[in-house]
């Protein structure tokens, strides 16, 4: 018998991720095209268009508007990439093609399936973030020597949002409801109210609340701190990291539980 149960119990989630990545490769052209074109469009329209106005007023935080904007756009791209890459596979796995039920009749466990989907989403997120970063670089948005540190900050945001979306997509079984709800009332407001285009402090205090619960804001603050002389206290720094890290831990923990429940009827 060549079945290797010990190997599966250790590496099962990597096998699930492997299947997911093979799936992504079928869409590689579209994924890569979007990864390049998306940032280019934003940088031309907002970065240069709005940027020229802002820079005429001495920029933001003492840096050019592009430099201010770059960590936010990068984190936002990471969030978009990781969310797409968990939401669609989860709908597919439980409902459209029911592939998770196929995995579940092998030695793979429900927890490994949820983790595998997350790992594959992170793979896609890394690819997207690196490409986005390169485009930003060529637009001159990244001047400082520490500009590459915007990437880990963005990845942290992608991981946090991916883990939470994984749990949410698995929990909410009605996909139409889910797409309407998440698309209109989570993703877009988050993009607009997380201090992406202007410092969050420009907003009245009751609107700043959206930023505080948004992984995008926490990652953007972190990214700005890491890429230029944006001031953050040690406390602020640890809060940003803690919020993002707890989203990852709680999201993955809940996902594993929800996957287990749905795959064991």
């Amino acid at each position: 018998m060549s079945t290797n149960i010990r190997k599966v119990s250790r590496f099962g989630s990597f096998h699930v991720a492997e299947a997911r990545i093979r799936n992504m490769i079928k869409w590689a052209g579209i994924i890569l095209f979007a990864a390049v074109v998306n940032p280019a469009l934003y940088l031309v329209s907002i970065g240069i268009g709005v940027g020229s106005l802002v820079d005429a007023n001495n920029g933001v935080n003492g840096v050019s508007y592009l430099t201010f904007l770059a960590p936010a756009l990068l984190a936002s791209a990471a969030i978009q990439g990781s969310s797409d890459e968990v939401i669609f596979p989860v709908m597919d796995g439980f409902k459209w093609n029911r592939t998770f039920f196929g995995m579940r009749s092998t030695p793979i466990t429900a927890r490994q399936i949820s983790l595998g989907v997350f790992l594959a989403a992170m793979f896609r997120t890394v690819v997207s973030v690196v490409i986005y970063w390169i485009v930003l670089y060529f637009f001159g948005a990244l001047e400082s020597g520490t500009a590459w540190l915007a990437m880990p900050a963005a990845l942290l945001a992608g991981a946090a949002m991916g883990a939470v979306m994984l749990a949410l997509a698995a929990k909410i079984e009605n996909e139409n409801f889910f797409f309407t709800l998440v698309g209109r009332f989570v993703m877009i407001p988050m993009f607009l109210f997380s201090g992406t285009f202007y410092p969050l402090t420009q907003m009245p205090i009751f609107l700043q609340f959206f930023g505080w619960i948004s992984p995008l804001w926490h990652a953007t603050e972190l990214g700005r701190y890491l890429t230029y002389d944006y001031p953050l206290s040690g406390l602020q720094l640890s809060i940003h990291i803690c919020v993002l890290a707890s989203m990852i831990v709680i999201g993955l923990f809940l996902s594993a539980r929800i996957f287990h429940k749905r795959l064991e009827k």
């Binding site: 018998m1 060549s2 079945t3 290797n4 149960i5 010990r6 190997k7 599966v8 119990s9 590496f11 099962g12 096998h15 699930v16 492997e18 299947a19 093979r22 799936n23 079928k26 093609n97 029911r98 592939t99 998770f100 039920f101 196929g102 995995m103 579940r104 009749s105 092998t106 030695p107 793979i108 466990t109 795959l263 064991e264 009827k265």
Partner: protein
């Protein structure tokens, strides 16, 4: 006698107030082809999921290959091949890729799987489709691929839930032929079906299930011998007259069943019974003499037909 491969005692599964599987006992021996026959909702698929270690039983004991699925789920699943009622192939991937990734879930090495793929494709008659996306396959091909995929780990027990539902007659016969070959190779088969012909073709032994309970258990031929006569005469008088003919016909046959569209008369010799009826001056619109089947067994046991 050696320890059975699967042993269930008092197996029960409830969902809230609903009892899906109601206190059933059965044993499956190595190399046996064992069937669960019953209408939709009889509890067959639930029983299969419990055996497949993907659903937790509410009570009772169950051992598969000497292990308890509640404790050793992954270890048991490593020895099972599962063909679910609904195909769950990855539509975006090719035929070969589907087998490949499935093999990986069992911890098989790439070299082992790659050696195995041509053999499985031949078995499933899908050699020419190996680089085709699953999306583009017909229902019968998908079904064959699902079976081929389940064999990649060389399972000890192959579990098939309604393997031919939704397939055209030709595709069904191809599939039966493939399953028969596996049976010849000594693979233990577990099959659920609501098709009596399928059960008769493939099963050495079966249990008849209805509403979560076992109604009978034996080989197909023995079940027919126990619960039915050798032959059945089917007569039709038109839907208005069927009911009024019943009283006239009842004394002539061993047993009588009235279905919405026809009357079934059970007898050892169907032709002789038909002659008797004609001698009484009764002439049905149509008549047909056939051998008893598992359908008749089910009708006798439950008072209902299998396919409703």
């Amino acid at each position: 006698m050696s320890e059975p491969l699967i042993r269930a005692r008092g197996l029960t599964k409830t969902y809230g107030d609903f009892v899906a599987v109601d206190n059933i006992d059965f044993d499956v021996a190595k190399g046996e082809s064992f069937g669960f026959l019953g209408p939709n909702g009889a509890g067959k698929s639930t029983t299969m999921r419990i055996i497949g270690a993907t659903s937790v039983r509410t009570s009772g004991t169950l051992t598969i290959l000497g292990k308890d699925p509640e404790v050793n789920g992954p270890q048991i699943r490593a020895h099972l091949g599962v063909v679910p009622q609904q195909d769950n192939l990855d539509n975006e991937l090719t035929v070969s890729e589907n087998i490949f990734i499935y093999g990986r879930y069992f911890g098989l090495s790439s070299s082992f799987i790659n050696k195995k793929i041509p053999e499985l494709l031949e078995f499933a008659q899908l050699e020419e489709k190996k680089d085709t996306k699953v999306e583009a396959l017909s229902g019968g091909m998908k079904r064959r691929l699902t079976i081929a995929r389940s064999l990649v780990s060389e399972p000890d027990i192959l579990m098939l839930d309604e393997p031919t539902t939704g397939l055209d007659p030709q595709a069904r016969h191809i599939l039966w032929d493939r399953l028969f070959r596996l049976k010849e190779q000594g693979v233990t088969l577990l099959i659920t079906t609501h098709y009596m012909d399928e059960a008769e073709q493939l099963c050495d032994r079966l249990i008849v299930m209805d509403r979560g309970k076992i109604m009978a258990e034996d080989s197909p031929s023995q079940l027919i011998k126990t619960y039915s006569t050798k032959e059945v005469l089917e007569v039709r008088f038109g839907s208005d007259r069927n009911q009024e003919m019943v009283d006239v016909l009842r004394p002539l046959a061993d047993r009588i069943e009235v279905l919405p569209d026809r009357i079934l008369l059970y007898a050892t010799d169907g032709e002789q019974l038909l002659e008797q009826i004609a001698a009484k001056g009764i002439h049905p619109n149509t008549s047909l003499v056939r051998r008893s089947s598992l359908e008749d067994v089910f009708l006798r046991l439950t008072g209902r037909s299998l396919v409703e």
